[in-house]
């Protein structure tokens, strides 16, 4: 990218935005300033189409230590400990180069977590691709999974959970959302506000190169198009070894109380990290780009300011502590360079040696950004085509069950999670597929009990009904936590949508945020932070609207956490919670080639009450088996309990497809000794564990071996591995 040939429009700014910049500067920006503004005012950095909407979300709660606005949200988890967490997207980079795109997505979210002083202890991923019969989708899926594994495994942070869906609407524009959870002593948390005029600004970590230049504006804030291969140079390259040293070094710097503030370098690199630190601290910063260690010697000052080279952190250090900081960095072989200092000018001033090459008011870069009102308009009818039919309407229940278990959305994700290390750190007491949420014990950290973590969001249901679908994502996530006995402490979300300047996308976004808000209010769970990824559109149109919800909860007794699998012959099986299954928006309807245009309305307060009952039942400690009913309905949930436990079951259910395969939030399967199961508030006993087949009276009988073959075999077969 040469700047001379790139006026403001090529950098993604509108004419009126350009005028706004001139107004705020009192002159025309020079080339460097224009580049910095174009990034700081991009959708990705400034949330200019979503900021007003996000103000709707509840952000206060009794456990909150740090809310939205910091590098990550933080909640109190007792015993002086706090959990920091956040989810972020790396969609467009992954659509252009899946391995590095996904790898650096993980790297970026890890830095957000240790930037607040927390040690990253878990990663979860939410992935969306086109159907696996497309070669492009297989390539993106395989590459993204490898990239996530490469980064997470190498850095010693366990990948403990996640979800993957395959839908035609993600064919061009896949989604890669990564969530990280960190743990810190409350008194060691640090904020990113720069403070103390005269304090030194120190850049830590990797050298700065030309990679990722313009990533935030060129890639993340526009629709994908045919020539995206040419955008590969805007994708960053990750080096987990560098980040591993950086994590340990930063945490030791914080242990020694050597830093005044800390911030990661993400989108827009040095420009955004420095101006955001200055904005929060109400100060100015002088940066000398000639002091920044470079990978290539001839980089222009503007390139240095906007490079998105990975594995870099920016910190503010009191002058008298500088030597200690440099010594510690040297021990960890982490590059540390003083590149500037805190001033009282409230301007970001960029120097190249002695020459002033850019001078911008921090307020104009960060706070006084034009915000846009959405112009939502409900479309008439469904805007997405029906998916291709893969199953006849008239088939048997057995065929439907096996087809559902083999549908990649439901089938075992063993192919994925075996490529991740879920155990490093020695906290993980429930690995993927063994329970509905990942469970991490806190004993060795001086805490009590365990954290439970889940990430959820079914875009197809949101496409059917943005309000209800988004609310369901919150319920699903909270239900996964309830199934291991955990109470949610806070929520993070990533809003993946199409182009918000289009009225129907604006409508999806608005309705979805309303759904999130109402579900959060009903459950009493605050939003601690998140991320917005817009313009997720390819040549075939927008993605399914995909609000992804991540939650962190706490449970008192790790020893009592149930599993998905049936445990013992003779155990009674019951349905608890509030379950009103319907076929609209279900996986079965998808297989039959119908998308649907609405979902049944939700009684949110009733669902909130039901979740409290489920959690109380699980915490009773007498239910070895607990599994929520989600995609594929009750029959699939029961099949999964059989497969995981290696045991059959005999059940009597209502007749009809809706009872067997209908979906809807709120249903939970439990099993255990009869007396324990019958004592659960509201439990409806539906059968008994035993034999080596899943037998549903009058409907189906399939051996556990056959169920397992369909469930475990589908994804390896689709990939030919």
């Amino acid at each position: 990218m040469t700047l001379a040939a790139a006026p403001h429009r090529e950098l993604g700014l509108t004419d009126s935005e350009y005028e706004g910049i001139c107004e705020r500067l009192g002159r025309e920006p020079n080339a460097l300033e224009l580049a910095v503004f174009s990034l700081m005012w991009s959708e990705h950095c400034a949330y200019k189409h979503s900021k007003k909407l996000l103000r709707m979300l509840p952000t206060e709660g009794p456990h909150i230590v740090m809310g939205p606005g910091e590098n990550a949200g933080v909640v109190d988890v007792g015993h002086g400990l706090a959990a920091a967490f956040k989810v972020e997207s790396h969609n467009h980079p992954s659509a252009v180069e899946p391995f590095q795109g996904a790898a650096t997505g993980v790297g970026g979210i890890l830095r957000d977590i240790f930037a607040v002083g927390a040690r990253p202890i878990a990663v979860l991923d939410s992935l969306r691709f086109g159907e696996l019969d497309s070669a492009r989708s297989r390539y993106l899926f395989d590459g993204a999974v490898k990239g996530i594994g490469h980064y997470g495994n190498s850095i010693g942070v366990p990948t403990v959970g996640g979800e993957v869906y395959f839908e035609p609407a993600y064919e061009q524009n896949c989604l890669v959302n990564a969530m990280c959870v960190g743990l810190a002593r409350r008194d060691r948390l640090i904020r990113s506000a720069a403070a103390g005029v005269g304090n030194k600004l120190v850049l830590l970590g990797a050298r700065t190169g030309r990679d990722g230049i313009g990533g935030a504006s060129v890639l993340a804030s526009a629709e994908l198009s045919e020539d995206d291969a040419s955008k590969r140079p805007t994708v960053q390259i990750g080096d987990p070894f560098e980040e591993s040293k950086l994590v340990e070094c930063c945490l030791e710097l914080l242990d020694g109380e050597l830093l005044a503030s800390l911030q990661d370098l993400g989108a827009a690199g040095l420009s955004s990290s420095s101006s955001e630190m200055a904005s929060k601290g109400g100060v100015g910063l002088d940066i000398d780009v000639s002091r920044v260690p470079l990978r290539e010697p001839d980089m222009e000052p503007f390139e240095i300011m906007i490079s998105e080279s990975q594995e870099r952190m920016l910190c503010v250090v009191e002058p008298e502590r500088l030597d200690d900081v440099l010594t510690l960095c040297d021990r960890w072989e982490v590059r540390a360079t003083t590149i500037g200092e805190v001033t009282d000018t409230r301007h970001l001033r960029v120097f190249d040696g002695d020459e002033l090459v850019g001078d911008m008011p921090v307020h104009a870069l960060v706070d006084d950004v034009p915000l846009y009102d959405l112009e939502p308009e409900e479309p008439e009818g469904q805007i997405y085509p029906d998916p291709p039919a893969r199953l006849d309407d008239g088939g048997s229940a057995e065929d439907a069950l096996l087809a559902l278990l083999a549908s990649p959305n439901i089938a075992s994700k063993r192919f994925v999670f075996e490529q991740y290390d879920p155990i490093v750190g020695s906290r993980t007491i429930r690995r993927p597929q063994s329970a509905d949420a990942a469970v991490l014990m806190l004993k060795a950290d001086g805490g009590s009990g365990a954290l439970a973590v889940s990430i959820d969001g079914n875009g197809r249901r949101v496409a059917c009904d943005p309000y209800t679908g988004a609310a369901e994502a919150v319920l699903e996530c909270a239900r996964n936590l309830a199934c291991v006995g955990a109470e949610p402490l806070g929520l993070t979300n990533c809003l993946n949508f199409g182009n918000p300047e289009k009225p129907h996308i604006a409508w999806q976004l608005t309705r979805a945020v309303e759904g999130l808000r109402d579900a959060c209010l009903a459950l009493g769970v605050p939003v601690v932070g998140g991320n917005v990824s817009l313009y997720n559109e390819g040549g075939d149109g927008p993605i399914y609207p995909s609000p992804i919800v991540g939650m962190v909860g706490k449970l008192p007794e790790p020893e009592a956490v149930p599993r998905v699998g049936f445990a013992e012959e003779g155990h009674a099986i019951a349905l608890v919670g509030m379950f009103e299954p319907a076929l609209e928006g279900s996986e079965l309807e998808k297989l039959r080639g119908r998308l649907g245009e609405a979902l049944p309305p939700l009684d949110l307060p009733a669902h909130a009450d039901a979740l409290v009952r489920v959690r109380a039942a699980v915490r009773g400690g007498e239910l070895p088996t607990v599994h929520d009913v989600s995609e594929g309905g009750l029959a699939c949930a029961l099949a999964e309990c059989c497969i995981e436990g290696g045991l059959g079951a005999r059940l009597s259910l209502d007749e009809g497809d809706a009872a067997l395969f209908g979906e809807g939030p709120g249903g939970v399967v439990v099993a255990g000794p009869r007396a324990a199961v019958e004592s659960v508030d509201g439990a409806i006993v539906i059968g008994e564990v035993g034999g080596d087949s899943l037998e549903i009276e009058g409907a189906l009988s399939v051996s556990v071996g056959e169920l397992r073959a369909a469930y475990e075999g589908a994804i390896p077969a689709a990939l030919g591995t």
């Binding site: 594994g149 560098e242 999670f417 290390d421 155990i423 490093v424 020695s426 007491i429 014990m441």
Partner: protein
């Protein structure tokens, strides 16, 4: 008895190994840049990606100042246990026969596997019975053991994957080997991640328990 657990830049499982050792004896971390092993009775070279595993797995770590001391310590008969990346480092250092090659799948694999104790007469397995099955997780990309024919006597095979449990295509299902003297052992499974039933299994503790029984010189 005091364990020393090596910490290279890029190590991942060193704190897990430290905590596992501390269940059975004293243990401290050893910094890769130091070379002092005084007071250490057994060395654990842990898993991870030392020096980013650049060049070739374990190839750079082998040259760290601390490893020079560990090599001396091993040659003098001191017990040294290499886990995963530690196994790779010990092979690179010439302390163990053979080499670790990329998994047949060419993918990272993490899985709980069963390994059988083939040789209970080593400092690392003396708490185990011959043929005892241990449930321990593996997690690696480069774990397929290979030694040229005739270079690995049977008694140096300490652990073998149980039938059907070989996760990587290792030659003869070899999961762990020792040197001729029996004081240096490497294995791909992670015993430090199998010391607590809550996290899946306590079987890996048998190895640390065995080492803790070694008489202190």
């Amino acid at each position: 008895m005091k364990f020393g657990v090596v910490r290279f830049p890029g190590s991942c499982d060193e704190v897990d190994a430290l905590m596992a050792c501390r269940r059975f004896a004293e243990a401290d971390l050893l910094w890769h840049g130091d070379s002092d092993l005084s007071g250490i009775d057994a060395v654990v070279v842990p898993g991870g990606f030392s020096y980013g595993d650049y060049l070739r797995v374990g190839a750079i770590a082998r040259f760290s100042p601390l490893m020079e001391s560990v090599i001396e310590f091993a040659r003098a008969g001191g017990p040294v246990l290499g886990i995963c990346n530690g196994f790779q480092v010990l092979c690179e250092a010439g302390l163990l026969p053979g080499a670790l090659l990329p998994n047949n799948s060419l993918r990272f694999v993490c899985r709980q596997v069963e390994v059988a104790v083939e040789n209970p007469d080593t400092p690392f397995t003396r708490a185990c019975d011959q043929g005892e099955l241990l449930s321990i997780p593996v997690k690696h990309t480069t774990g397929r053991y290979y030694a040229p024919p005739g270079t690995l006597p049977d008694e140096q095979v300490v652990l073998r994957y149980a039938p059907g449990h070989n996760p990587n295509g290792s030659m003869d299902d070899v999961a762990g080997v020792c040197n001729e003297a029996g004081n240096v052992m490497g294995l791909m499974p992670h015993p430090e991640h199998a010391v607590d039933p809550l996290t899946g299994s306590a079987d890996g503790g048998r190895l640390f328990e065995s080492l803790a029984m070694v008489p202190v010189a």
